[in-house]
Symmetry: C2
Subunit: 335 residues, 2 copies
């Protein structure tokens, strides 16, 4: 099937761009120095492609992602880079994947107790490095590691996500260094082999982690592109023109708020100004001399934020040179 | 099961609030004067509750919604309030629901030709009443009706959606009247029994349509609540505290960008300031004297926009007086 024969809206992955992104990242972060974050793409098929490239240790944000990776035979070294408060679900996931190595992030006595009682064996101490979300303070890290060890947990090290700096326009490298100084100070108190952190936005500036938690680089979006992180756009929403208004000079295509994560603003269309997204439409006007597309024409929409865009879809259509060559289920979405 | 025992994040529907909303709307728009828009809730189970209340004619935004309503035995009078450019999919849906009455919106010679060739029998002429999206100009409507009739289609009337006025803060009633004047003028040229339009935001001001296309009123969101439309919040995202930062005074719960439509901005939490949403977290601080919740505590998050929030979920958990009494699949999501 040709790409332009896909029923729309359809989310596509350009295989050549994906492979180029994987190769570029693997030069700087080979093997398990990269811990690909599956939250970006939520597909075990894409994860297998990363494992084939040598990245066999994965990172996840939900228990469903951990369970799915384990069930797909990708459980060599799984990190849930998130806290868990629900011991019974955690236990079910751990017991459901007896062959998987599962490490989870903890940042409080409560989450340590949940991990220990659920049968988890290994943890990282999650440290707040400047983005208000999860993570203990630098000063608490050593004490929490003691608590975890007292409950029989293997503390592999620390993690800290400088997510607030991923698209930082000014002095990104210096700010990443300052955030990682917090993490390294915590690591001094915690011990262990692992210093886990970073992401697509700090892949070229973070020299302090032992493993980089990056996922978005595989698919990319306009937000990361604007931040100049240097990977190729591989993810696109394919749409069809449903209506055009010659007098007003605008066009409406058949993908909108339910096909695109909107927290980073509107998506982009080449040579066009995007006006807004409605539930099932994106409305835009062509720039300058670009013609107004006709009803039935195909239009490629570039998502602004990969993660919440993928989470709206059940399928990633794999395309190469204008043809659809495979179909990857978004099998890790939901919770 | 108690609501607080649901695995989180979980999207819940308060049955008493839903029923009160249905009853309030039915007083003003009884029976088929209301054409409930299923795009808001994407659940045939909820649609059946509306049918039981006398609203047996439904409105939809996608072919999947039309097909699903037909398959659920709710096909008495279905309106696809959207244009279709894909004739083969349209034909498959029409042929797959031989017992359903399916009317679709058309706004161009191209979409009329698609409808006629796909076996559709009835259409509405979709008129632009001021929101740039789909819809022909008032001046074109009569000519398009002629084109449709020349191809053997039954033109039931017109539709026009004043979506840009749904939350209009200033002179909403007057602006709705002006938009509907366009629709009524087009109707004069088109003929037919149906003048379809409106929505939750104009339920109390639109006196000109023969049927109101409202869906969000069933579940509601903070955007419509701020617009003062007068229905009760029935949709909530139930979350659990994963992390709290005593020094910083913030808390992170386990629902974020992949559980909440973000085009209307952040969700709300009672007595709290929501800072931001990350992929799987919402971060907030309690207001004034409200205590900082503990890890494991439940927090109710109020979505800002119902439609793209529901589209992230596969289940609506039906709750009443603190208990989970049913589970409605979001069976109409996707395309």
């Amino acid at each position: 099937m040709l790409v332009d024969e896909l029923p729309t809206p359809a989310l596509t992955v350009d295989l050549d761009a994906l492979d180029a992104n994987i190769a570029r990242m693997a030069e700087r972060w080979p093997g398990t120095t990269l811990r690909p974050h599956v939250k970006a793409f939520k597909s075990t098929a894409l994860a297998k492609r990363l494992a084939d490239a040598g990245h066999v240790a994965f990172c996840a944000a939900t228990l469903k992602e951990i369970a799915g990776l384990g069930a797909a035979g990708l459980g060599e070294d799984l990190l849930l880079a998130n806290e868990v408060a629900d011991g019974s679900r955690l236990r079910a996931v751990v017991e459901g994947a007896p062959d998987a190595r599962i490490t989870i992030a903890v940042d409080s006595p409560e989450t340590i107790a949940v991990a220990a009682s659920a049968g988890v064996r290994e943890v990282l101490i999650d440290v707040d490095v400047g983005m208000p979300r999860c993570g203990c303070s630098m000063a608490e890290a050593g004490r929490l590691a003691q608590v975890a060890r007292s409950l029989g947990l293997n503390v592999r090290g620390v993690m800290g996500y400088e997510g607030h700096l991923m698209a930082e326009p000014v002095d990104r490298a210096e700010k990443v260094e300052a955030a990682m100084a917090i993490l390294l100070a915590a690591h001094d108190d915690v011990g262990g082999d692992v210093v886990s952190g970073g992401g697509t936005g700090s892949w070229d500036t973070n020299r302090w982690v032992t493993e980089l938690q990056a996922g978005s680089y595989t698919l990319m979006d306009t937000h990361y592109a604007a931040a100049g992180v240097g990977f190729a756009p591989a993810l696109a929403l394919r749409t069809t023109v449903l209506s055009r208004n010659l007098a007003g000079g605008w066009v409406a295509v058949d993908g909108g708020l339910k096909a695109l994560g909107m927290d980073h603003g509107n998506p982009s269309i080449d040579n066009a100004n995007v006006w807004y997204c409605a539930d099932e439409h994106t409305v835009f006007s062509p720039r300058a001399d670009a013609p107004l597309p006709a009803v039935g024409d195909r239009v490629t929409v570039w998502p602004a934020h990969v993660d919440p865009t993928v989470a709206y879809h059940d399928t990633l259509w794999v395309v190469q040179a204008g043809e659809v060559i495979d179909r990857w289920p978004v099998d890790l979405r939901g919770w």
